[in-house]
């Protein structure tokens, strides 16, 4: 087996890969949520001075990247790669948002698991000695996602109780082989898991088995004790998906309830903000990681975190054709 590979799904990062800076910008609704103090900027309206939702999402990525770059004290010339992706068709938020950056670019699509996917690849690239600094970022935009995946915003329809609210926001982390910051130690890459859920308004339930599978794979491959993590956090399962994931793990003998949470269940106030099962979207896990988790780790309040971003790999076409939803979850182990 390749020397850095320690199991079916997991690799151990052997050279230091540090998160030297992180930045997150969110929309107005996220800015009213319980995590509002952890974000770098809260935009006032969802168009943010642009002519379309898609342009606004591109701007989110552009500005978030600029903030992370600035915080790391780097110039664009020092960044060897940008790895980015989003939910829009052909990843236009990333492609258009970063087209002026003039940095070698890898576009990735992992639906809402994109943040962990880009960090996984970025860590491998740095550990492999192919780069010194890699920026990993992603975004989602409520209005642009609704337009592409569901109904027009002004249509007077009701959302089912299992639905989730796409986060408007962009998160970016700068990975480097120098400097200070939490280290990425392990990467567990998810498999595509489809347990037959067809309801695009119940993505938490569709993704929960993928999250559970990756978490189990991580502990099986590494032999790390679950207790050594302060926080095991999934990306956007929401309230229902989080409960299911927790139960699936318990049924397989893994008890993590006391240290388990979900970004989608944390980012909004469930009772006050009328978002049903919680937040979703690439931006959901990205801004919680770049804001809440990163700041807590820098203060030493969190020491070991397993970040498991979850993605539903569906398209409007597959939904209309009655297909079930294949899902994925990628895990990144972060330690100070």
């Amino acid at each position: 087996m390749a020397e850095k590979r320690i199991g079916r799904q997991t690799i151990k990062i052997q050279n230091p890969v540090r998160i030297v800076s992180a930045a997150g910008i969110v929309g107005p609704k996220e800015g009213q949520g319980p995590l509002r103090h952890y974000f770098d900027e809260i935009i006032e309206d969802e168009l943010w001075g642009e002519k379309s939702w898609e342009k606004a999402e591109s701007k989110l990525q552009r500005e978030t990247f600029a903030k992370a770059l600035n915080k790391a004290g780097m110039s664009t010339g020092e960044v060897d790669y940008v790895i980015a992706g989003d939910l829009l068709n052909q990843c236009i938020a990333s492609n258009f948002g970063l087209r002026e950056s003039m940095i070698p670019f890898f576009g990735v699509f992992g639906a809402c698991s994109t943040m962990a996917e880009s960090m996984s690849l970025g860590s491998m690239i740095i550990d492999g000695g192919f780069a010194d600094n890699v920026a990993c970022l992603t975004s989602s935009h409520f209005c642009a996602a609704e337009k592409q995946f569901r109904f027009p915003l002004e249509l007077g329809s009701q959302r089912p109780p299992t639905s989730q609210w796409t986060v408007t926001g962009s998160g970016c982390v700068m990975l480097s082989n120098k400097g200070t910051g939490p280290c990425i130690t392990h990467v567990t890459t998810g498999k595509i898991i489809d347990m037959g859920i067809k309801d695009a308004n119940n993505m938490g339930s569709a993704m929960a088995p993928a999250a559970a599978d990756t978490i189990i794979g991580h502990f099986y491959d590494t032999g790390i004790a679950p207790e050594s993590y302060d926080l095991i956090i999934t990306g956007d399962l929401g309230r229902l998906g989080k409960n299911i994931c927790d139960e699936l793990l318990r049924r397989q003998g893994l008890e993590i309830s006391d240290r388990y949470n979900d970004c989608g269940a944390m980012i909004f106030d469930m009772e006050r903000q009328d978002i049903h099962c919680g937040g979703s979207g690439c931006g959901c896990s990205a801004v919680v990681l770049a804001g809440f988790i990163y700041q807590k780790m820098q203060k030493g309040e969190l020491k070991n975190v397993l970040f498991v971003a979850t993605g539903a790999l569906l398209s409007p076409t597959s939904t209309q054709q009655g297909e079930s939803i294949p899902c994925i979850a990628h895990a990144v182990s972060i330690r100070i």
């Binding site: 002519k51 379309s52 027009p152 249509l155 299992t162 229902l240």
Partner: protein, 148 residues
Amino acid sequence: MKAIFTKDEYVRYVEQKAPKSKVMKNILRAFLVGGVICAGGQLITNWLKARGVPAENAANLTALILVCVGALFTGLNIYDEIGRFAGAGSIVPITGFANSIVSPAMEFRSEGFITGVGARMFVIAGPVLVYGISASVIAGIIYYLLRF
């Protein structure tokens, strides 16, 4: 994961675990809001008739006015709030039909007047028109044949 659930078992497990829609509450809200819209329509018809408009014209004018009101409320970003509260109560009346045409027209304005507004305007109402008109044609043919 397949070790503890087959796909069918998992789908059943999720169905049983998922929060259910509050049916009684939704029905009550739909009844109230739908009733208010229809009563408003009746008031307009009565008012028009009282001013001497013939019955058939009054009905057509009422539909016209309600469509305009539905379109206006959509443009003012109010109709989606009503819809979130009322559900079918604001979808079924003709104001909901106006909403289903105006809302995609607004949404796809950014793709221009031809490929955006023009092409996408009937993305929701289109099936209603296709099957509504088809059904009425079939009903018309049956009615015609039955007369012989």
